[in-house]
Symmetry: C2
Subunit: 389 residues, 2 copies
């Protein structure tokens, strides 16, 4: 298995866009290609994560249209993958396999989504198709509902009074909004307080508006290549040290909730492959689609003890100066969450951090980074470890 490096990365501003998904992808991709010191003609294969292009703008099979927009020739296979909100990370894993397996030397991969432009009612309804159609979706459950249930399960499992847990969750939002202020590409760049969260409108009890990430439009892209090429082309290649993907069915099939088995198995695989432990991670972009989701993820990734993820936030352990900086980009909460693009945007941040190019949001001395992307109600999780020499 060959070593795989991240060369250039690219990302649009997240928020509301009037561009099509193909156009947004091309914007991010051209940045990723240019910062790899490559030209589009150097790309040998393309993977695109996209979730609901058909509902969002009547576009399926988006990958070859992205390829055509970049002027790539017919020889370049262009493949769309979909794993709900983990789509781009699933795409990155396929691209990783293609380079590591010796099939291609330079692969472009990323994701694109127009989730904000379609509007909240349709986005909420279509996102819910990421749950199991036979056992869950028809009950009317949507993702705020799923994570509201997980919040109550979490409070009961770890015997934390709900008001206490809600305050810890609010601190997640406060932290990620504070981080997002430093990110010029973030959808929200405004500090909030615990009161902002706790006084905001109720969405799915006990989740309030500021417990939830926004709907977003955006795209992000990454160039993966062999170590040999990376050393030639860029001054600071970042390497994929470990990667794992886990799966699960409907919630009723998942044992041990609120813990997410698909994440824990993916993380175990990634750590084992990298020969690393959670203690080695300096900076992490994880899937904070809701504030409780960050707490659950930080524990499932081994960055905090089970039942103590909220406490870690309270103590400042997951921000600058703490043990590990979680979501320096602002996370899904403040940076935004264009679902099919999110996994690639996480890599964008980790690559910038490991290269020391993150400007005012730089995590000092970051050499090992982790991304965690969750699709559906725990049905697809990809965990990846990145390092720099």
């Amino acid at each position: 298995m060959r070593r795989v490096a991240v060369l250039g990365v690219g990302m649009t501003k997240f928020g509301l866009s009037t561009k099509s998904q193909v156009e947004m992808f091309a914007e991010a991709a051209l940045e990723a290609i240019a910062t790899s010191n490559l030209k589009p003609r150097d790309i040998q294969a393309l993977y695109v994560g996209n979730v609901l292009g058909d509902f969002e703008e009547g576009q399926m099979n988006i990958a070859p249209f992205c390829a055509a927009e970049l002027g790539l020739p017919p020889e370049v296979p262009a493949t769309r993958v979909e794993g709900a909100c983990a789509s781009a990370s699933v795409a990155i894993r396929e691209a990783f396999l293609a380079v590591a397996g010796g099939f291609y030397d330079v692969v472009l991969v990323g994701g694109t989504e127009r989730a904000m432009a379609m509007g909240t009612p349709l986005a909420t309804r279509t996102f819910a198709m990421g749950t199991d159609g036979r056992y869950e979706e028809f009950t009317g459950i949507t993702f705020p509902g799923v994570f509201a249930l997980l919040t109550r399960l979490y409070a009961r499992e770890y015997n934390i009074p709900l008001p206490k847990l809600k305050e810890q969750m609010a601190l997640v939002a406060v932290k990620n909004h504070r981080h997002g202020v430093q990110n010029p590409l973030a959808q929200f760049r405004k500090e909030i307080t615990v009161e902002t969260v706790l006084n905001s409108v109720m969405i799915a009890d006990p989740l309030q508006l500021f417990d939830c990430c926004p709907f977003s439009d955006g795209a992000a892209a990454v160039v993966l290549a062999t170590e040999e090429l990376a050393r030639k082309l860029v001054p600071k290649p970042v390497y994929i040290l470990g990667i794992g993907q886990g799966s699960a069915g409907a919630l009723f099939r998942q044992k041990g909730l609120p813990r997410i088995k698909a994440r824990e198995t993916a993380a175990k695989k990634a750590y084992a492959m990298a020969g690393l432990t959670p203690q080695d991670v300096h900076v992490c972009e994880l899937h904070d689609c809701f504030t409780i989701a960050e707490i659950i993820a930080s524990e499932g990734l081994g960055l905090c003890e089970f039942g103590r993820g909220g406490e870690a936030v309270e103590k400042g352990e997951t921000t600058y100066g703490g043990r590990v900086v979680i979501n320096p980009s602002g996370g899904l909460k403040a940076k935004g969450h264009p679902i099919g693009a999110t996994g690639a945007a996480q890599v964008y941040e980790i690559a910038k951090q490991l290269r020391g190019e993150a400007g005012s949001r730089q995590v000092e001395g970051a050499r090992i980074g982790l991304t965690d992307t969750l699709g559906g109600d725990g049905s697809t999780v990809v965990v990846t470890l990145y390092g720099i020499e």
Copy 2:
């Protein structure tokens, strides 16, 4: 690169189904696993092709739900890929890379779709999202329209009078319906005549009803594994000798229509990898979504000279007793076309043929088989060569 074998294959009857896509997939998958002399617990990774599960039954991210239905554990990555009507073949290519690259020894791959149950108006409209959303779809073009245009371009390019070409196209339908009679899993098992086609209702001039494949529900699955395992587990392993995937954008970007560049580049790759030429192919399952599509494909794959695909059908060169038997299964035309499953159903047929297990539709002495699957209006094509020792 390790050699990759096809072990067991499975397929539902194509036609109208009241089963969900996950249930259909599980039916096909369990057959593929059982005929591989394996158990579900032996599966190490899963790839599922599916196109419009969200529109068809409100199900996205279908792969982990298929995995859960089969009882696969969280360690098994389950990935959905979508390449319009070529989805299952794109999935098979990803599965091939995963085994060939040394990442997994046993991978389950296939596709599932409920295109008939959703009804013709919505199916026609949603399928059209496989064209370019910015340049084509808004004009009102649907796939019968695309292939009607290609028919006229073809007639002009090769200077064949349209009535003559239409008769040749009708003969494609007659042949594939005749083949389908022998296939117990085919949607249509009824012989037709040239008159049936030419007297049928006009769909998109010059394409008539019997020039068009049906909407279908169905699933198909295949187990891919290493050569070593194949030799242990099954008496007659079939090997993937070559595989190629090509891409293209909107029709206006495609030079040289009615020839399909994405196909020609995919075929070139597959033949080169296999060290074979079109003359070596004994049996072929190709993408006859419309009768003209079979003619164009047979030429693009090198099985007939350009401009003479229709003549080859007239002369019986593409049926039993001819140079190469095209679509012994009945093809998309008679067997049916559950779009996300089609590529895997093609492999089902080729594997049966190469193993000499195709019963009354057996192509005598078939040792080299080819599958060709087209997605969108030429935007994604996968060509694969199979052989038996």
